[in-house]
């Protein structure tokens, strides 16, 4: 650079914002498309009818069978998730816990903490919520918030413990949260056979939540938890990008040395980040409990806490991205059931597609290679996701 080229600093114009958004969305979008295409291959390869058609109908018949196989599978999946008002409502119901859980992991990522313990925090939160929700008889205006709050506090406390261990002893949060998951799993087994079991205790199921703590359903099974999720997503965005707390979280998450230099108490922020993450995990559990299940039984969560990692990655740890990713995953999940019944394809195919999405997001070089997209600078992608071990 030289003196004569004077560039006037200005804020970015609209066009460059659109371009930035496009760049941000391109890889996740292509990752999903690619995963669906490969998923299609797997459907074809595992479909006996295709082999028979190749044997009997030759190339033409075989290709036709391939088309039928894939189109029936994906057709039934999408009609099953978006085909009717009820289907759409089911998709949104399935998306709700994904939004909360995805936000939980995303906040962790932003703060440099890899919270693998969302599953455990969620389950502990459900236990707290079911306890408050079934044991106290209160007017709903008090009972519902109190029950939700119980879940949030339980999740936050459990996650904050992992954050505290990291801040004080350097114990890596990945190890801590994984281990703490097992503590919760076993604790819940024990509790469901003991103090949390309904009376008389014949099977490990909790007493039902009282109606005063319900999140009301209003559109088939769609409940107010969905709107709560959207509001919370907005609140998380506001917190992360508009407040000093968010500035601290993002600074610690991106460059803890600079954070310390800037006077931020990094240990405090680590604990806070985990607490917020855990509270969001707790919301995922509480809304699912109070809006859908209304009772806690074994197998309450179908791995929301782990799918949430994929969601946060897919959504680039941005609340809006997480919401979109959660809607996508919710749609896939609820369509998968229909696909299983109509096309006789196991719902596991969805897990494969989800796994492929994670692979492509985690290794964007693959996507760039497939679609010949030029790599940009090293700073691409919103900075560091998580710090390495021992950092």
């Amino acid at each position: 650079m030289t003196t004569d080229e004077k560039i006037t600093p200005s804020q970015n114009g609209l066009s460059s914002i659109i371009k930035q958004t496009f760049d941000l969305v391109l890889i996740p979008f292509l990752a999903v498309v690619t995963a669906l295409i490969i998923g299609g291959f797997i459907i074809v390869v595992t479909d006996a009818a295709v082999y028979t058609a190749f044997g009997e109908g030759g190339i033409g018949g075989g290709l036709a069978a391939i088309w039928t196989s894939v189109s029936v599978a994906y057709g039934s999946m999408f009609s099953g998730s978006l085909g009717s008002a009820r289907d759409i409502s089911e998709s949104l119901v399935a998306s709700t816990p994904y939004i909360f859980a995805g936000l939980a992991v995303a906040v962790g990522f932003r703060g440099g903490m890899f919270n693998i313990g969302v599953e455990g925090q969620l389950l502990l939160a459900v236990m707290a919520s079911v306890y408050v929700g079934s044991n106290f008889s209160l007017p709903w205006i008090i009972h519902l918030p109190l029950t939700i709050l119980a879940g949030m506090v339980a999740g936050a406390a459990w996650a904050a413990l992992a954050g505290y261990l990291k801040a004080k002893t350097g114990a890596h949060e990945v190890i801590n949260t994984i281990m703490m998951n097992y503590i919760v799993y076993l604790f819940s087994d024990w509790a469901l056979n003991g103090f949390l079991c309904r009376t008389p205790c014949s099977s490990p199921v909790s007493p039902p939540v009282l109606e005063s703590a319900f999140l009301p359903q209003f559109f088939y099974r769609l409940h107010f938890g969905f709107f709560l999720a959207l509001i919370v997503a907005f609140a998380v965005w506001w917190l992360l990008f508009k407040t000093t707390i968010g500035f601290e979280i993002r600074t610690v998450g991106t460059n803890p040395n600079a954070a310390r230099y800037g006077g931020i108490q990094t240990t405090k922020v680590m604990v806070l980040t985990m607490a917020i993450s855990g509270a969001l995990a707790g919301l995922a559990g509480a809304s699912e409990l109070l809006g859908v299940n209304r009772v806690l039984a074994a197998g309450f969560s179908s791995g929301y806490g782990f799918d949430a990692i994929a969601l946060a990655l897919l959504g680039r740890s941005h609340p809006l991205g997480v919401v979109l990713a959660a809607l996508l995953f919710g749609t896939l999940r609820s369509g998968a059931t229909r696909m299983q019944s109509l096309a006789n394809i196991p719902t596991d195919i969805i897990s494969i597609i989800q796994a492929l999405v994670i692979v492509f997001i985690a290794a964007p070089a693959i996507i760039r290679w497939i679609y010949r997209i030029k790599a940009k600078g090293a700073e691409e992608g919103g900075g560091v996701m998580v710090q390495g071990w021992g950092s």
């Binding site: 003196t3 200005s10 230099y261 006077g263």
Partner: protein
């Protein structure tokens, strides 16, 4: 005889940027050809083209008179081109031999590494070019200067005859620099040709046979060191007359602002890094700390700024006891800190410039309660970018995509815009181009004249001498001497930095005048 290497009309067009514009360069056998240019002038792009990392938009490369197609580093190595990067590409937990043979392993019995054969060849190379190094030492145990030798050996091991040295002196002590220059002379005397990339003018004059200056992607001149001066080269490089000497009036010290007494600090390995250090700085004066890297300067600065625990002793800033206060408390007293490693401590590289501007004042100056005042942030950012001449397309640009000089200006803007009583500037111009050095130095002196106390820590003796009113020399964790800047020569400082007792070095001074801690 054709030149060993010839670049003809190399042009490289990036989207929106013409990084190289019709660059011509010839390298004769056995010469050191210096490539001089500011950060971002296009030196690195050119070398990356030569090394096969980029494809030129236009232009040809000839090696020994023959047209060469270089499509990747492997190609470049095969054609005898070797590159020593500024940041070493060594694996600390492997030995020298293992590092050198990596990618070109000698093998016996099919699958076993033959370290003996490799070690023998390394010893041969060591002997031939006097690159002394123990082939069996682990790289992590070696000082930076020796690690660089390993890098050079690595390249020679692959039979390179054309050596590209990218800013090789940036990490070296003055002594190591001298050693490197001796090695370079020996290499060229044995027929190796060297392209030497730097922006340090003294070094160029000391070691090169020919100089090409690049500005804005174009070769703007070729010069011979015998016919050039630092001043003429700087002008060629920057494109305008440059002040190489800091213009400053005599200091007008007021009352003491920083008082350090018997300070003891431990380093990360729990060893004593700073031992019983005492000194003071008054408002309106600059105290420079000279010393070879790793003699306690880093720890000293970290303790004063609250980033490191002080074991014992006292640090008084503006009358307040500040030892072991938090960085924020110390900032709030009125201390500004330009950190030694700007990318590690001073900036969040992926954050936009405007967010880096508020790194340590986001919570008070730029917030109402917990809400960040974005309007104020934006307005201030636009103002500072103008005022501090940060060359950036926008305030939204991530700090990481600026050049080193402009990154440093972002930090300077942030740290100099607060009301400040004490300024601590650590390596304020490391890796910064000449134009920015001039600018940053002028700003530091301006702060001094406004009455701030200033502590400058630098491994560049010239910088310490240019800025300081008094110079403290650190060796092995102690301040071995504090002397007035205008009463000490560069050679004397060099000896003090190397640990020669001050009585021997400063014998020329009247007795008592240089007593430790005494103000002059």
């Amino acid at each position: 005889m054709p030149p060993v290497l010839e670049l003809r009309g190399i042009t490289k067009q990036f989207p929106g940027v013409l990084a190289n514009d019709n660059v011509n360069l010839t390298l004769e056998k056995g010469e050191v050809h210096a490539l001089l240019g500011e950060n971002g002038a296009g030196k690195t792009t050119l070398m990356n083209i030569l090394y096969g990392l980029y494809k030129p938009t236009k232009g040809e490369i000839y090696i020994n008179g023959k047209r060469a197609e270089i499509s990747g580093p492997t190609d470049a190595i095969r054609q005898g081109i070797g590159m020593v990067h500024q940041h070493f590409m060594l694996i600390p937990v492997l030995t020298v031999t293992e590092n050198v043979m990596l990618g070109e392993e000698s093998i016996h019995n099919g699958i076993f590494l033959d370290r003996k054969v490799a070690a023998k060849r390394i010893e041969e190379i060591s002997k031939k070019y006097r690159l002394e190094v123990d082939p069996h030492a682990y790289v992590r145990d070696l000082p930076v200067g020796i690690q660089q030798r390993v890098e050079i050996i690595k390249v020679l091991y692959r039979q390179a005859t054309i050596l590209i040295l990218d800013e090789p002196t940036a990490v070296l002590t003055p002594q190591e620099v001298d050693e490197l220059f001796n090695i370079m002379k020996l290499l060229t005397s044995q027929g190796v040709s060297i392209i030497f990339i730097t922006h340090k003018l003294k070094e160029i004059l000391a070691v090169s046979d020919r100089i090409s200056v690049i500005r804005r992607g174009q070769t703007v001149g070729t010069a011979k060191p015998t016919e050039s001066t630092e001043q003429s080269l700087a002008e060629l490089m920057v494109g305008r007359p440059v002040e190489l000497v800091v213009q400053k009036k005599k200091a007008q010290p007021t009352q003491p602002v920083l008082l350090v007494k018997n300070l003891v600090i431990k380093n990360d390995r729990d060893r004593i890094a700073v031992e019983d250090v005492s000194f003071e700085i008054s408002g309106g004066e600059v105290l420079g700390v000279a010393g070879v890297q790793g003699n306690g300067q880093t720890e000293l600065v970290e303790a004063i700024t609250g980033l490191r625990h002080a074991e014992s002793g006292s640090i008084k800033i503006d009358g307040q006891e500040s030892a072991n206060k938090t960085p924020r408390q110390i900032t709030e007293i009125g201390v500004s800190h330009v950190p030694e490693d700007r990318q590690r401590d001073g900036l969040v590289l992926s954050f936009p410039i405007k967010d880096n501007f508020i790194l340590n004042t986001y919570y008070n100056t730029f917030a109402n309660g917990i809400i960040i005042d974005e309007k104020k942030v934006n307005e201030t950012a636009i103002k500072w970018v103008e005022k501090f001449d940060v060359r950036t397309p926008s305030i939204e640009t991530p700090a990481g995509s600026l050049s080193g000089g402009n990154q440093q200006k972002v930090i300077v803007a942030r740290e100099f815009s607060r009301p400040l009583k004490l300024l601590i500037a650590s390596q304020p111009t490391r890796g910064v181009d000449v134009g920015s050095i001039e600018y940053i130095h002028a700003r530091i002196i301006q702060k001094r004249d406004e009455g701030a106390a200033i502590l400058v820590v630098s491994t560049e003796l010239d910088e310490v001498r240019a800025l300081s009113d008094r110079i403290a020399v650190m060796f092995d964790g102690k301040i071995v001497a504090i002397v007035p800047a205008d009463q000490v020569t560069k050679e004397q400082l060099g000896l003090l930095m190397a640990g020669v007792p001050k009585e021997e070095v400063l014998g020329v001074f009247p007795q008592g005048k240089t007593k430790k801690g005494e103000k002059l």
